[in-house]
Subunit: 338 residues, 4 copies
């Protein structure tokens, strides 16, 4: 921690800050320049809030030097994390992982048809929602356990891994037999109780960035999972909220190279939620792969016009197959395959 004092700070104010830094466990190096005094705190103090120093008399600015996450930081595992699954598929390695399927599981026929078509196009994961709390109290809310069973059946029938969203601690145990990858949605990125429980689970977690979350906050949420002992974490960029209203969110493609620099964790992109409109999905899926993303998560529906949720952002099967072909052309540009 660095504390820059105001130019007009008194010696007494400086001493007060120094004492409090020492009190919480810092070694303090003092640098007095022509205009101001700078205090560098070195060492590993216990938990404290930088803000508490920023409001002390005579303080101009408090700067955190070390990143607030440790286990999620690149230096913890410089070679990068590869999340490996039972069937040999992995995320974060040579291959770009494709996860696809409908927003929600609507029927046995729908999910089997979805699994068949995304598998044929080259996806390795089947996505599908079982629980669907919606922003309006008047909408379809998901089929729950039945949906999970259908997902598993469809996945097994077509050799696909299953990724589905967990929304509450109480659902974890119910989902365990049916999913290969727990998805934590954007709204739950800072549901720390849920993260703590998932940290204790021995299954990989796909952690989506909240629409108002900085990259640092995303990594801090990942830290919760890692701190609990679950190192199989995959991050996901799915759009942030900005002033631009034409797209539902602004997909922050630059988060991909940034995460790759700051962290060892793989990161995939979700262009369906990132844009909210199916006609924008292919461009943003291609951008994700071109920027070095470790995978894509795409909504595909056998019949988007009849989808019970998110139809507008679900791709038609034919368009999805075309997209896969273009991704195969791009992957080698970043030294990957698909």
């Amino acid at each position: 921690m660095i504390v820059a004092m105001l130019e007009r700070a008194t010696e007494e104010e400086i001493q007060n800050v120094v004492e409090r830094m020492i009190e919480i466990g810092f070694n303090v190096h003092r640098t007095t320049g022509a205009v101001q005094t700078i205090l560098a705190g070195v060492g590993t103090p216990g938990a404290f809030s930088h803000d508490d120093f920023s409001v002390l008399p005579g303080v101009s600015e408090v700067i955190r030097i070390s990143s607030p996450y440790k286990l999620a930081g690149r230096s913890f595992r410089p070679e990068g994390t590869v999340v490996r699954f039972a069937n040999g598929v992995s995320v974060g390695g040579q291959e770009v992982a494709v996860m696809a399927g409908p927003c929600s599981v609507e029927s046995r026929e729908q999910i089997l048809e979805s699994a068949k078509l995304v598998s044929a196009a080259g996806a390795k994961f089947l996505r599908g929602g079982a629980f669907k709390p919606r922003s309006s109290p008047y909408s379809f809310q998901g089929h729950g356990l039945d949906a999970l069973k259908l997902l598993r059946e469809a996945g097994d029938a077509h050799g696909l891994l299953i990724v589905s969203e967990v929304m509450e601690i109480s659902q974890i145990e119910m989902m365990m037999p049916y999913v290969d990858l727990f998805q934590v949605g954007a709204r739950n990125m800072q549901n720390f109780n849920l993260l703590r429980e998932l940290g204790a689970v021995r299954k990989p977690v796909l952690l989506k960035r909240g629409i108002a979350a900085t990259i640092e906050e995303l990594l801090l949420s990942a830290e919760y999972l890692l701190a609990g002992g679950n190192y199989d974490v995959i991050l996901c960029e799915r759009g942030i909220r900005t002033f631009e209203t034409y797209t539902r969110n602004t997909m922050d493609i630059s988060a991909i190279p940034v995460v790759h620099k700051l962290s060892h964790l793989p990161i995939v992109g979700d262009p369906s939620h990132g844009t909210g409109r199916r006609d924008k999905v292919p461009a943003m899926a291609r951008a994700t792969v071109a920027a070095g993303g470790d995978g894509v998560l795409i909504e595909v529906h056998p019949n988007p016009d009849k989808a019970l949720s998110d139809g507008a952002q679900s791709m038609f099967p034919g368009k999805f197959a075309e997209l896969m072909n273009s991704l195969r052309i791009i992957a080698p540009a970043v030294g990957r395959t698909i």
Copy 2:
């Protein structure tokens, strides 16, 4: 719903849209101008997604006309809602409600001292956190049930109502005997399962705006509570995330007159979280009252320098009393008392 067709839309595309509008229950009025066709859907169709229309061939734009919330809208109760509490205190009426206290309940002594001082200064509610999931996995997490009991004791001792945050469905029942007002935090504003449960509770709820939530989304979350039968809802502005980094959030004071126009629900301001720094709290508390806010929610601590959480944004007792005096001067400017 209004559907504006593209200038180049074909008659077939227009017919297709008309048919789908009728299918879901709209009466359709067609207006054909020199350049484009506009379809106005009138009536009360079932649940559907406007986005689904926006991706149909030939469609330029889809515009929702009626607001997505009904019960939370001003026209549902044009005279405005006044939330009344057992001891005669109310929020949304003539008096500006002051809710104050520490971020978390730390000890019996601390909360009793807090209650005494905020009561003496004129507050009617004592706030204090019992559960404290934090953004870092390495921080103080709250005293739970013990904290609730201490809050109640302190409130009763000084004639204060109790407001405290509920973070999970499982906490509702535990909190019932101890709190007068359930607070839903910004991160849970779209935790729809929690909102649904609170809709069934017979106690008022203070619903905080999420840092990335529009005012419309805030009202839609309130709709969940009202739809469940709980009409005693108080909204709270506590800052939104913007590009400005000097303050932790940007407190959107204009949300106060906007909510008063769009909804019948009262709205209070939380300048402590809205700014994150105690030296900015008085200015923003005054602005809240001057803008017509129905109350303020302020962090005050007997000894902020020793607070276990949020010390930097907690006010010193003396400063809080000064602030109360200035609020008393302002209230008459908006026809209120304090």
Copy 3:
């Protein structure tokens, strides 16, 4: 400047950074902790870019310590700046300054009528636009020199100072005889050539914050004026762009206390542009004064329904007089008069 090195930085990388810091004129203090090395640069080097250091090998983070503005900083003039005008009116002193009038000067009758009514209500400045480049190429563009003459006439007739926007260097000389306060609009906040010229002028400048400008950038733009020798600068908050779309901009009321802490310059609020709707103006004008603003800039039109520009945000005369009365109640809460 503080340079925090990566944990894995080599001694060679550290030496390279040290040498470059010395090269540009810093004295370097090196602090080596258990995990990383921190380099503090002290002294007053010439112009350089912090970013250039951030991309050097082995660097984790570069932190600017001293603020990039000097003359605009609070420590340059701790007692605060009071901008004084010929007729004894001042901004930044005891009295809250009220500036009011129509968006544009439309006719002699309109501006005389405006001057009369704002003066009667207690305003000390008459505002009015002479040049109106609009975001659509198809709109009213202002009456230029004629408008300036009418402004002066109207101001003199009613004892009002004149504030009007300057949009190009070429307009400065033309405006000099007619205005008392040059307004720089939000879009020109970073028009550095214009600022440089205005720095050489011996008339006060009202500098509006850009809709995407941080408070620091606003102060850096003020620095241009001060560096040119013009110390009579008044800042103006008029709303920033955020994700909220209900209001045209989000007026950042907290910028008022922040500017008062960081700078000695006075700051006024413009609730007309800050909200874009006349029914939100009174609440935000009151909030501005309650937050400690040094003045308000308000659009008032004798007949808003017939205004050639910005009619929707212009107040009716009667409502403006009412607002003035409520501001008179609030001012004493912050130790001011009106």
Copy 4:
């Protein structure tokens, strides 16, 4: 225009709105539903402000139906615009255009060396700044006319077209003999006087999106150029301001497919300003091409460490050549060549 009346609007209020719509030239279609009345204005009225209707008594919402730009809209030229240059190079056609070079022209040697290396790597345009107003008043400000001459010499020596930024109307004539493409910077995107002058020029213009500008505002600024008779307009995405602070701006890659849908104008990406850091440039340049961008604008410097401006975001020559190779792999995925 659609005007949705409030549920509680009186017949008198409705009539008043209808009359005003007719007054400005609309034909009005009235639709009265169970809950509210909707007024659809059809026809081509003169200039007016939608906001003026939104504040009329009884009005709930006013919705603009037709886009505010006409000439920039896709329907004006559905086949898309290809901007053609003297030497046969074009932007918006089959080939992805690469524009590269240093931030500013520093010396004859530097710009000749730059031209040589970017040409060798496959660029078709040489970029370089002659005028450099900076956000700090204490920085390098550009070499002006001398820089323009050097750019032309370097371009001619290596068969490159010249793109350089124009910042004021007075510079247009001076630049005419030296540049092939006028660049309008992000800060000038809404400098409507400058746009009007460039509309009268017979040379292509590269219009950068402002950091707080919506896509619609970008197209409205392009409209100024087209309305003036200059149809050779190339748009440029270079990052918008968001809450994320790790990158200087958030490059909005989704603006590329959005612009392609809404407009016939080509759009290129500027990953150098979009990220502010050279290590993020390759990922975002690749994303630009993968998303269907018509070109990229990249800062390359023979010796970035010694650059007088923007060194941190300038690529090293070797890295730029590598990037070009990866772009050549990606282009076929979107049916393009490079």
